[in-house]
């Protein structure tokens, strides 16, 4: 029996530095929460988070154009990874800025003072009276971001699994931390945790089966085994199917979307925006990497399966959104439909499809964060007024806020001169080019259905008379105002002049094997 010597793998720390910075900042934030005086914690946490995220963004920009395979092939920092990491860092930065909003809620914070307190209990009342602020959210968000950044660069299934868990666990906690509607929030956190654990188990079991079939966890190794036609094919197919389930769960593709509306509705709205934008990037790029790099040899098998999933996701998301009466649930179903449009880009299985999907992820994230930020502004006595009927006549009372929201909705609907149109055009063009004409037609149909419920909200806001006891639009602090303005500006900018971003994603559309 031969013993294998453990060789310390060579690690390119430069390539990993952005991830290390973010995770390091998360650890620092935990220490701050443990040792710093109460009144300084929030300030220090915000500073640490913002500095780390800006630093990570700068480091990523510096690395643009370089491809690195490191840590024995477990991590690949290539074009798609860099673009995805930059998007994740940017979305995290914006979300952290939104966390600092203290003016909207009368209690001074949008997070529960203590996640463990029973809703309506004496402890909660006391903590609220003491104006205790939740500060762990910063550390949790940074950990999630670090996990996401690792996930998009993970080149073996085990690294990917660890990254998946690192990003998921903080999100389960964050979802249950809403200050208002505590029970709903805790329910959503629990639901997300249970279903997420199932999905992780699927992923892990699939990984084991793939390893059994190919003898490798590394995507390049799997690819080699697949193209050499060695190994048990049925094991490989079942295994990859299960890995895909784990990832499709995270991007809320049908039929793994059931958690999405409940979690989106129950989570604090700023966290919902963060999840919708950043998690989608992480899981989607990981899914592309597994399929393109590891399973390029089985492309005929998975494009067929995933084009069915894509079609169903677009249709189910759009149709179910029609009957929603809660704005957050409606946006959740819309996010499901958008996962379907993204999958249309994925099944193109071409560099132009990858570029289109990356563009879509970036602009969809921007618009989503903006839309959820607007949702935080519309409030009545019970907190955010998310029932659609209470948005009636908003355009009459607050034309600017309603106008920004209308712009985001038009972008979701893919109306020209917004970024959503260019995104839809690129994914449809890529899929059409790959011969997926039927899927494009299904996409067109789903877009028409989706337009109906986006327009319904605009009808409510602008064409209906305001209810006398309706909610008011609170005046936010500068942080939220800036985020909404920037998101609206970028939604128009990438709709009118998308050239630079399209160029960037086209250059970054090749996965390194």
């Amino acid at each position: 029996m031969t013993t294998q010597q453990f060789v310390v793998p060579a690690i390119d720390y430069g390539a990993l530095l952005p991830v290390i910075v973010v995770l390091g900042a998360a650890v620092v934030a935990i220490l701050v929460d443990a040792f710093a005086p109460v009144r300084l914690r929030a300030a220090i946490d915000v500073t640490v988070s913002v500095v780390a995220l800006v630093a990570a963004l700068v480091l990523l920009l510096v690395r643009a154009g370089t491809d690195v395979v490191t840590a024995n092939g477990a991590v690949v920092v290539d074009g798609p990874a860099l673009v995805a990491q930059a998007a994740i860092v940017a979305f995290t930065l914006v979300s952290v800025v939104l966390y600092t909003e203290k003016r909207l809620d009368p209690a001074g914070d949008s997070f529960a003072p203590a996640g463990a307190s029973v809703p309506g209990s004496e402890l909660e009342r006391v903590l609220t009276l003491q104006r205790t602020q939740q500060t762990e959210v910063y550390a949790l968000t940074l950990f999630a971001a670090g996990g996401m950044m690792t996930m998009v660069a993970a080149n073996d299934l085990l690294t990917m699994f660890v990254a998946l868990e690192v990003l998921s666990l903080p999100l389960y906690l964050l979802s249950s931390l809403s200050r208002r509607k505590r029970l709903l929030s805790q329910e959503s956190g629990l639901k997300y945790f249970l279903l997420g654990a199932f999905a992780s188990a699927f992923f892990l079991y699939g990984t084991a089966l793939v390893y059994g079939a190919t003898g490798s966890l590394n995507l390049a190794g799997i690819d080699a085994a697949v193209s050499a036609n060695v190994g048990v094919e049925s094991l490989l197919l079942v295994g990859t199917g299960m890995v895909a389930v784990g990832l499709l769960f995270k991007i809320s593709a049908v039929p793994f979307q059931f958690w999405t509306p409940d979690v989106y509705q129950g989570a604090p709205t700023v966290v919902t925006g963060f999840m919708a934008a950043a998690t989608k990037v992480a899981a989607f790029v990981a899914l592309m990497r597994v399929l393109y790099v590891g399973l390029g040899g089985l492309v005929a098998d998975w494009t067929l399966l995933l084009s069915v999933v894509a079609g169903l996701t677009m249709l189910v998301g759009s149709v179910l959104a029609l009957s929603q009466t809660d704005i957050k649930r409606m946006l959740a179903y819309s996010s499901i439909a958008h996962a379907g449009f993204l999958l249309v880009g994925l099944v193109a299985a071409s560099p132009s499809g990858t570029a289109a999907a990356l563009f879509y992820l970036a602009v969809y994230g921007i618009t989503t964060i903006g839309a959820f930020a607007v949702v935080t502004l519309v409030r009545d006595a019970g907190g955010e007024a998310t029932h659609l009927s209470s948005w009636a006549g908003l355009g009459r009372r607050s034309p600017l806020v309603a106008g920004a929201f209308a712009l985001f909705l038009l972008s979701f609907a893919g109306i020209p001169l917004t970024s959503g149109f260019v995104a839809k055009l690129s994914v449809f063009a890529a899929a059409f080019d790959a011969g997926q004409v039927v899927l494009v037609l299904v996409g067109v149909l789903a877009s028409a259905i989706a337009a109906f419920f986006y327009l319904r909200v605009i009808v409510l806001m602008f064409f209906s008379e305001p209810a006398p006891d309706g909610p008011t639009v609170s005046v936010p602090s500068i942080a939220t105002a800036v985020v909404i303005t920037v998101a609206a500006g970028l939604t128009v900018w990438f709709g009118v002049l998308p050239g630079s971003l399209l160029d960037l994603v086209q250059q970054a559309s090749e996965f390194v094997r």
Binding site: A413, I415, L417, V422, A429, L445, A448, F452, G499
Partner: protein
């Protein structure tokens, strides 16, 4: 001379921004009207630069817009687009004028009302001038948004329903067209693909593919035009929208649909056009007769005109797909004259509704006693609607029917019936509102004010002038249509009618 056309498109857009930002509602209204007059002046200047015997597209502007996708900001002026640009430039100031006191009592933003119409104008002008298919598509779709708000915010009782129906019909058509636009784009060689009309026309596409793409484009344009059986959004939209917007919608904006058929569908899909033409001609004839019959049965003033419009759009489509120079020129001429005539009709009906406060035919009667000039206006506008000889509409309808007859005798014969039906719905409307004894409510109605007269007078003058002297405009148009028909590759069946003599 570059930059002229870009300026023509950007000027109203800029005016819209200024209108929205200037303090004071009255100032905003004046800024908007001044902008539209500047656009008119610029249009005249551009028109003088145009050489009717020159190449198809002139005064071209072309800048790469989205380089990675091959999208260009590419504008060009053909004889056909010049006619429609001129229609837009003439109609917009009149529509803006008609809006002066229209929605003052609704409590909604008047500045936005004016700014949105200018945004519409910019997009409509852009669509008429675009020589890049994606640029055309973007404007074609984006113009739904301002119109949606114009109907939904400022319209009548059922405005929400009408606005949503309007958008959903058109958006659906647009999305189908988007799939076809992508399909067309992908016919180009990889890495050299562009959306430029000139590049796409040069492609050699097999007829089967052409037919699919043709259907994709035609669904969008048939909804926009609108053609039976996808016309039902227009009566609702036109009825619920304020009268000025109904005029703008069916008079100007919907022309983008029929323009798209001539300027894009014919040159892009020549083989499919020739094969499918009999079917489209059939639909057009159904549209003409059906809508005319329905118009006779309507009791709502705006609905009558809306259905009349659908019938006339049928005539326009009939002429386009008859594929003779004469019929196609007649159709283009009809787009202009129908724009003037429908705008006049909607504006005059709007004057009536603002006085009586009702759209219902039964609430009127004997208006010509208290308001003889108003009655005269309705009569003149109505006569232009039924294509009375001497009016521009007569020249157009005659050209279309004669041009169609040389290829499709039966279709032309059936379509001619619509002239009789038009006389019915127009004259019944006149009879029931204007003649007879005045009722208690109509006896004290005030006659036309100076401002109102000033709005419709230019329309009447143009309708008469183009009816008596159609030559110059027809020459300009025929230059464009001849080249377009030549691109389709069909030749006119003989004998060719002397076009210039049509008006006498």
């Amino acid at each position: 001379m570059t930059g002229w056309l870009t300026a023509l498109v950007l000027l109203p857009a800029l005016g819209a921004v200024v209108t929205a930002l200037v303090p004071g509602v009255r100032t905003a209204k004046l800024v908007a009207i001044a902008t539209s007059l500047l656009v008119l002046a610029l249009t005249v200047a551009v028109g003088l630069e145009f050489d009717p015997s020159g190449s198809l597209y002139q005064l071209t502007d072309q800048v790469a817009w989205v380089a990675p996708l091959g999208v260009y900001w590419s504008l060009g002026l053909s004889g056909i687009s010049l006619a429609l640009v001129a229609l837009t430039a003439v109609a917009t100031p009149l529509v803006l004028g008609a809006m002066w006191a229209e929605v003052d009592d609704t409590g909604r933003s008047i500045k936005a009302y004016y700014a949105l119409v200018l945004v519409m104008e910019a997009m409509v002008l852009g669509a008429f001038l675009a020589t890049d298919v994606l640029l055309f598509y973007i404007l074609f779709e984006a113009m739904l948004v301002p119109m949606y708000f114009l109907i939904g915010m400022y319209g009548g009782e059922k405005r929400q329903y009408a606005a949503v129906k309007f958008v959903l019909y058109n958006l659906f058509g647009g999305l189908v067209m988007l799939a076809a636009v992508i399909g067309l784009y992908l016919q180009g060689a990889p890495r050299e693909r562009t959306f430029l009309l000139s590049d796409l026309v040069a492609l050699d596409i097999d007829e089967g593919t052409q037919m699919w793409l043709f259907v994709g484009f035609m669904i969008a344009f048939a909804i926009k035009a609108p053609l039976w059986p996808v016309h039902t959004w227009l009566p609702d939209a036109a009825t619920e929208a304020p009268a000025s917007q109904a005029a703008y919608l069916s008079g100007v904006v919907d022309k983008v649909g029929t323009f798209g058929m001539i300027a894009l569908v014919l040159p892009l899909f020549p083989d499919a056009t020739v094969s499918a033409a009999p079917w489209v001609v059939g639909l057009a004839v159904v549209s003409i007769v059906w809508a005319a019959l329905v118009a006779i049965g309507q009791t709502d003033l705006k609905r009558i005109i809306a259905y009349a419009s659908i019938s006339h759009f049928g005539v326009i489509v009939l002429g386009i797909f008859a594929l003779t120079t004469q019929a196609t020129s007649g159709s283009t001429f009809y787009m202009v004259s129908h724009g003037l005539s429908t705008t006049a009709l909607f504006l005059v009906v709007g004057f009536m509704i603002s006085r009586r406060g009702s759209r219902h035919l039964g609430d009127y009667g004997g208006l010509q006693k208290p308001a003889p000039i108003l009655a005269g206006f309705l009569l003149v506008a109505g006569l232009s609607g039924l294509a009375m000889p001497g009016m521009a509409t007569f020249v157009s309808e005659f050209l279309v029917l004669v041009g169609t007859f040389s290829r499709y005798q039966v279709a032309a014969a059936v379509a001619t019936v619509s002239i009789v039906l038009a006389a019915l719905y127009i004259l019944i409307m006149y009879q029931r509102t204007m003649t007879g004894p005045p009722t208690a409510q109509t006896a004290s109605v005030a006659d036309v004010r100076g401002r109102e007269a000033a709005l419709v007078a230019p329309l009447f003058a143009l309708l008469l002038a183009l009816g008596v002297v159609p030559g110059p405009l027809l020459t300009t148009i025929t230059d464009g249509t001849t080249q377009t028909i030549a691109e389709v590759g069909v030749s006119d069946p003989s004998p060719v009618f002397a076009a210039e003599g049509a008006g006498q």
